[in-house]
């Protein structure tokens, strides 16, 4: 696992969901370097932190997490959106990004991380 261990940033405003996500990631051997609920915090971390991967909730108390996605894209950091909406909830710019439909299972999460990482590096 050690080789595939990633430093993951979580943006999720539902604490229980965040807890579950953290547990899943830890079980997979990843390291959660940030788990935040506010877009402003997430932007700061996305911009400054050493991150390998990010999982973003789209709708955070009415605000959308796309600004964070933009920063991540600029830095070339892979990420997935996790949302209760389907892909129609995405802005056009992010239409092609990977989406985790809530609720999701561990293997779905695992696959999403792998796919996103491949996409960016490839």
């Amino acid at each position: 696992m050690g080789q595939g261990a990633k430093r993951v940033l979580i943006l999720e405003d539902e604490p229980l969901v965040a807890m579950l996500l953290e547990d899943l990631l830890l079980e997979m051997g990843h390291e959660v370097v940030g788990s935040v609920a506010w877009i402003s915090q997430a932007m700061k971390l996305a911009d400054q932190m050493d991150i390998d991967f990010a999982i973003l909730d789209i709708n955070l108390g009415g605000a959308k997490s796309f600004p964070v996605a933009e920063i991540l894209r600029r830095r070339g950091i892979p990420f997935v959106f996790a949302t209760g909406y389907g892909s129609e909830g995405l802005e056009r710019e992010f239409e092609n990004e990977l989406i985790l439909q809530k609720p999701y299972e561990a293997h779905e999460l695992k696959r999403a991380i792998e796919q996103a990482s491949v996409r960016v590096s490839g």
């Binding site: 405003d13 539902e14 229980l16 579950l20 609720p103």
Partner: protein, 1322 residues
């Protein structure tokens, strides 16, 4: 003196001033951190602002420690420390017990505590006084003064009441500095004013000016190096003596006897306050600045006083001195007390109260005089006013305050009775003669400031002033010193002494004032000087003679106790072993005692001189001793005394003849004659000396009498002054009354003149008759009716011929006198004129009937006009009665005076003439149907506003219920002068017109108010009418489209459709709910549903169409919305599913059994569902915190509710609400399983509140369990704790503390509520 006081050091008595003075004089510095000056700051209402201004200006490196005391709400935590932090860079701490003071720190009192400085620690205690009576500032100041002396600085800021004033006294007495906020800068000036008026403010400044003065003071040598009070003075430099000299010259006060160290310290303090570095500079300042001299004198004389200071000493005084005095003295006798150096009089009043209380307790009354004296006139003024702050009376029982004081705003004034007992007078104890024949002298805490020699002088003075067995009461650190022969100790501990022995004039030394006094003290300095010099010379001479020639003698009292030794008595008297004695018989050497006893007995009994020969055995030889006992003239109060002289004779057993006889042969007769002469001279001299002594004694006695007389005169003078003042004020009053009377007389004269002029000038014949019907006075016009001249006054009216026919005149006058009524009659005069004769009783001001007043008024013209008017009125009435319209008239007040039959028809009733007002209707309504009061009907308006109305509309209701709408035309009627005399009104029935109007209006209203567009048009499409609904729907105003074609609304692609519709209507068809699109004025399209009906003319032909168009946009938009809602619902459900997934995962992962997992999972889901319920109720916008909490804890509360909730209404966003719900659920579950709710009596308190403003606004929620089993911190974090921290800490960006206190779990949640975020919807 020094030894005595050092003994006291161990005692923790309240008054240890002497001790402290002592310590200061020795220059001892008790502890290392004493070097930090301590600034005590007291404030109350309005103080926070002042503190802010002070600390803004205060530098952070002053080296001082600041202690702030405020009145804080005892039930709330204080934010003071936080507030002050923003004003200073010094660390600000809330005081905890035992804190050690550090420099450049600020300490703030905690709520509901008292603060004291003990050595260098702050001691916190519970306040002993109930709330409202506390004086925490006084407590603090007093403790700082005690510990820091000159390094104590006290600041009094804004506040009400007098807190701080008492404390400042201590600060000043210890040599510290006081600063008081200038009252005009303080929000509340009670505390500053109290301090200033007590004369305790060294500086009065605005808060921002204080730091400068503070630093100057702290850096001055007085504070920074107090040990070197007076550095070695180089030659030619100024000394303290120079300062005293200037003071004496300029102010007249001589401080020569005061202790040098005290003086130096206080002078130095003044220099510190004035920021003057050297004594020479200060001396220069003193010479030119008389104000400073006054301030210095006031400072030098500072003494601390207070009511019943040292209560135990006062208790002792009461029990040991006052009680026996009261018991011995008979009721009605006089009791005299002297309180020298009384300062502001507290002690004088105390002693007066104590004696009065004791006297009343034993049912006696005395003429109590307390003489209270002080050298400072300012002190005396304050003392005479007798106004003290409430704090000074803090320890008094309420009865004492009621008995002796009157409340005066925030302070108390000594009652008149007590003030009358105490006589205040200026007297300098060191300079002026004392009072005399006193029962008690209370001279406390004054001696400690004096040099030893001066102390002793005052003790002697007190001895003189007291009557035998009178008592002296000294301060705790004072003693009678070496004069234990003058006083016997009553209580050593409480310094109570009783006078013994006779008056000792020899010890009294009236000091003449030293040198000339600046303020006109001495009258003839030259003559006084010569006397003062000669007196001691005579004394010296006398003393020398006595030493040389007088035999060894002792003076004894009638009990044989020695009171005075003279010459060498050791040959005859010696102290036996054992306790010292003064019994002369016990002291007499062997062989003398027996003889002496007999001689004393005989002398006293016979009141004559007795001489006996005794024999003195010494070293084997015996010698004769002649002992003479001479009774002295007895004096009042002193008892009897006797003088015992011893004269040594030759040795016995030597057979030698006497030397004189042996030498007789050789000695010349001249020498013998000289010797004899010497003997006789000696006798003569003795007699002269005795005479002198007696005379001297008498002089002193009369001097004593004169002194006391003088003092009596002074008090009489004072009384006379008072009565003089009373007389003056009485005189003043009389003057006022007199001028008032004069004023009244002038007024009366004027009104008499007015009346005379009025009556004389009037045309009315007026006649005043007295009660005998004789003429009192008549107006000139009366002469036309009677033949009267002025001289006829006083004659009966019956004697005069009348020029009119009136048989009733006299009988009417008598009737008026008898029945006190008014009688009127019309009488014709002989000249053919008519008069109204009016007769009324003449009443005086006290309502007595003194006669009759008769007036005659000419009414001839009136009588003539009346008949013409009557005729024309009749014509008018007939006319009106014949009119078909309703007509009626009223008088000027609106009372109906007439009406015609048509009016009765309209009203349906007949109004009562002269009673019914304004309108004859039964009821009136406004056109809109609301009741119209009669006095607001058109007629009333016309009369009140004095204008005619044209066609005012109203509705009359008949008694049978029929309502008649009418138009009114009221017109006011005026007389020739334009004055309104009444009004006429015509009413027009408009029932028919009204009915048709209403119908039309109703229809129009329906059309106008409809939300639908209602349009009527011709069959060719020209619009006829256009309602508001159409305006709203299509955007055209009525005037923009009426008269134009409806085709404007039809989009080009539907032109045919409209034509088709119009054609169908022409055929008479009704068209319903035709959905189509139309174009608005702004070009946008709108979906409408059309309903059309043909409009027919009277013959039934269709001539137009009415169109109703309904807007369909809303319905279509609702459909769209529903679709979006479905999507949102899907999102929310999925999110919730994710949450449930997480709960399931967490629950299953942590549970030990499947059963437990199921239960926990169920409970958590139900909790989640409940929270959703609350949110759903509020449409997922926000939720009330109280609802969330109530729903969460409901399942855990048990039968009786064991939760106590308290907090304001707060609305939270759904996220926060859910997080708090889940958190509380976990806490509750935990409490039921392991915590407070697992025990029978356990309960949980949940409290929340909002704190802070703006960006720092936050929710603080506290969960507190009580009454449960002891709590231990759990070994690992369960789901609950993890959730709490996750959900609340990171999620809300707040702070969560879970405290496993042994008394119960306590959880504090602090969540910031950011504006704009708190109520945003998810």
């Amino acid at each position: 003196m020094a030894k005595k006081s050092s003994k006291n050091e161990g005692r923790s008595g309240r008054d240890t001033i002497a001790k402290r003075v002592q310590a200061a004089e020795h220059g001892t510095v008790g502890h290392p951190s004493a070097a930090i000056p301590v600034v005590g700051i007291g404030a109350s209402a309005g103080g926070i602002e002042a503190l802010g201004r002070f600390f803004d200006a205060m530098s952070a490196d002053s080296g001082c420690a600041f202690v702030v005391v405020l009145h804080l709400d005892p039930k709330r935590e204080s934010e003071m420390a936080r507030i002050l932090t923003s004003h200073t860079s010094m660390p600000v701490l809330q005081v905890e017990d035992g804190m050690v003071l550090a420099h450049d720190h600020v300490y703030v009192i905690a709520p509901d505590t008292d603060l004291k400085l003990v050595v260098d620690r702050l001691k916190v205690s519970r306040p002993s006084e109930p709330r409202g009576h506390r004086h925490p500032v006084d407590v603090l100041f007093a403790s700082i003064a005690r510990e820091r002396r000159e390094r104590s600085i006290a600041i009094v800021l804004s506040g009400t009441g007098s807190n701080g004033t008492e404390g400042l006294k201590e600060i000043r007495a210890e040599g510290g500095m006081s600063m008081v906020q200038a009252p005009e800068t303080a929000k509340f000036d009670g505390m500053p004013r109290s301090a200033i008026s007590a004369g305790l403010a060294d500086h009065v400044l605005g808060p921002e000016k204080m730091p400068e003065a503070l630093l100057a003071y702290v850096h001055h040598g007085y504070v920074s190096a107090p040990a070197e009070v007076e550095p070695v003075v180089p030659r030619g430099e100024a000394t303290i003596e120079d300062v005293l000299e200037v003071v004496r010259a300029r102010d007249g006060h001589d401080f020569g006897c005061y202790k040098r160290n005290t003086l130096k310290r206080r002078v130095h303090r003044r220099m510190g306050l004035r920021n003057i570095a050297t004594l020479s500079d200060y001396l220069d300042d003193l010479r030119i600045n008389s104000e400073e001299v006054t301030m210095l004198v006031a400072d030098l004389m500072i003494s601390v006083t207070g009511f019943f200071r040292d209560p135990e000493a006062w208790k002792a005084l009461g029990e040991l001195v006052i009680a026996p005095l009261i018991a011995q003295r008979e009721s009605g006798g006089s009791v005299r007390v002297w309180v020298p150096a009384c300062a502001t009089g507290d002690e004088a009043y105390s002693i007066a109260m104590a004696i009065t209380e004791y006297a009343e307790a034993s049912g006696k009354r005395f003429d109590l005089k307390v003489f209270a004296t002080d050298a400072q006139e300012a002190n005396l003024r304050k003392a005479r006013d007798g106004i003290y702050p409430a704090a000074a009376l803090a320890d008094f029982p309420p009865e004492r305050i009621r008995r002796f004081f009157e409340k005066l705003d925030g302070s108390f004034q000594v009652g008149k009775e007590l003030r009358d007992m105490v006589v205040f007078a200026a007297q300098n104890l060191l300079r002026d003669p004392p009072f005399s024949r006193l029962d008690i002298v209370s001279c406390r805490n004054f001696l400690i400031y004096l040099e030893h020699e001066a102390q002793q002088r005052i003790i002697v003075l007190c001895h003189f002033a007291l009557r035998p067995d009178g008592h002296l009461f000294l301060g705790n650190a004072e003693t009678i010193g070496r004069h234990d022969d003058l006083f016997e100790t009553v209580s050593k501990k409480w310094r109570l002494y009783r006078r013994i022995g006779p008056t000792r004039h020899d010890l009294i030394d009236y000091r003449p004032p030293r040198g000339p006094i600046g303020t006109g003290g001495a009258g003839e300095p030259s003559s006084t000087e010569s006397e003062t010099i000669s007196a001691p010379l005579a004394d010296i001479a006398r003393r020398a003679l006595l030493e040389r020639y007088a035999p060894a003698s002792v003076m004894i009292d009638e009990k044989g106790r020695v009171v005075y030794f003279h010459g060498t008595t050791r040959d005859y008297l010696e102290q036996p072993s054992g306790e010292p004695t003064r019994d002369i018989l016990a002291m007499a050497r062997g062989g003398l005692g027996l003889k002496l006893r007999g001689a004393i007995g005989e002398a006293l009994k016979g009141d004559k001189s007795v001489t006996v020969q005794g024999r003195l055995h010494r070293r084997g030889s015996s010698r004769n001793v002649a002992m003479t006992v001479m009774p002295l003239p007895s004096q009042p109060h002193t008892g009897k005394f006797a003088l015992v002289t011893f004269e040594l004779g030759g040795p016995i057993g030597e057979s030698k003849p006497s030397p004189i006889r042996e030498d007789a042969g050789e000695t010349s007769s001249g020498a013998r004659a000289l010797e004899e002469e010497l003997v006789s001279m000696r006798v003569e001299l003795r007699t002269t000396i005795e005479h002198l002594e007696t005379a001297n004694e008498e002089l002193k006695a009369s001097n004593e009498e004169a002194t006391s007389m003088n003092e009596e005169l002074q008090s009489t003078n004072e009384e006379l002054e008072t009565s003089k003042e009373e007389l003056q004020s009485f005189n003043e009053e009389l003057n006022t009354v007199n001028s008032q009377l004069q004023h009244k007389i002038a007024e009366q004269e004027r009104s008499t003149n007015d009346l005379n002029n009025l009556l004389a000038g009037s045309e009315t014949a007026t006649l005043f008759l007295d009660d005998k019907l004789a003429i009192n006075w008549f107006a000139p016009a009366t002469k036309e009716l009677f033949d009267l001249v002025t001289s006829d006054i006083g004659r009966p009216i019956a004697h005069f011929a009348r020029k009119f026919s009136d048989d009733q005149l006299l009988s009417d006058a008598e009737t008026v006198l008898r029945k006190l009524t008014t009688i009127e009659a019309e009488v014709p005069s002989d000249a053919g004129r008519w008069y109204l004769r009016r007769m009324l009783p003449y009443r005086t001001r006290d309502n007595r009937i003194a006669g009759v007043v008769i007036t005659f008024i000419d009414i001839t013209e009136r009588r003539q006009g009346e008949s013409a008017v009557r005729a024309s009125e009749q014509r008018l009435k007939d006319l009106i009665a014949a009119l078909p319209g309703a007509v009626y008239t009223t008088d000027a007040k609106g009372r109906i005076t007439s009406y015609n039959p048509a009016a009765v028809e309209l009203w349906g009733r007949r109004p009562e003439l002269g009673t019914d007002e304004w309108c004859g209707s039964w009821r009136i309504y406004r056109p809109d149907g609301t009741p119209l009061p009669h006095d607001e009907c058109p007629m009333a308006i016309a009369l009140k506003e004095n204008r005619p109305l044209q066609g005012a509309e109203a509705v009359a209701e008949r008694p049978d219920g029929v309502r008649v709408p009418f138009l009114a035309y009221p017109t006011p009627l005026r007389d020739a002068a334009g004055k309104v005399t009444g009004a006429v009104n015509m009413l027009v029935d408009i029932t028919e017109r009204k009915r048709s109007e209403e119908l039309a209006e109703r229809l129009a209203a329906i059309v106008a108010s409809s939300d639908d567009a209602i349009i009527s048009k011709h069959l060719d499409g020209i619009v006829i009418s256009w309602n508001i609904g159409a305006e709203r729907l299509f955007g055209y105003r009525s005037d923009e489209i009426v008269g134009k074609s409806i085709m404007i609304l039809v989009p080009p692609d539907r032109q045919d459709e409209e034509k088709n519709i119009l054609e169908r209507v022409r055929q008479g068809e009704h068209i319903q709910h035709y959905e189509t699109r139309r174009q608005r004025k702004d070009g946008t399209m709108v979906w409408v549903s059309l309903t059309l009906s043909p409009l027919g003319d009277a013959q039934g032909r269709a001539i137009g169409a009415s169109t109703i168009a309904r807007d369909m946009t809303e319905r279509r938009r609702a459909d769209e919305h529903r679709k979006i809602m479905m999507g949102e619902l899907n999102h929310r459900v999925k999110n919730t599913m994710a949450v449930i997934q997480s709960i399931a995962s967490q629950t299953l992962g942590h549970a030990s059994t499947l059963d437990e997992a199921r239960n926990t999972f169920n409970a958590r889901l139900i909790n989640l569902a409940n929270a959703h319920d609350v949110l759903t109720r509020e449409s997922w916008q926000s939720a009330n915190l109280a609802d969330i909490i109530a729903d969460t804890i409901k399942p855990h509360g048990g039968r009786e509710n064991r939760f106590r909730m308290e907090g304001p209404d707060i609305r939270l966003t759904p996220n926060v609400a859910l997080a708090i719900a889940m958190t509380l659920h976990e806490l509750s579950t935990n409490a039921v399983k392991y915590g407070a709710l697992s025990m029978e009596n356990g309960y949980v308190e949940i409290g929340w509140r909002i704190e802070g403003e703006g960006a720092s606004r936050r929710l603080v929620l506290r969960w507190q369990e009580s009454g449960g089993p002891p709590v231990a911190k759990p070994s690992h974090k369960g789901f609950g704790s993890r959730l709490i921290e996750r959900a609340l800490a990171s999620e809300l960006g707040g702070e969560v503390r879970v405290d496993y206190a042994s008394t119960g779990v306590m959880c504090t949640i602090i969540a910031p509520l950011r504006t704009g975020e708190v109520l945003s919807a998810t």
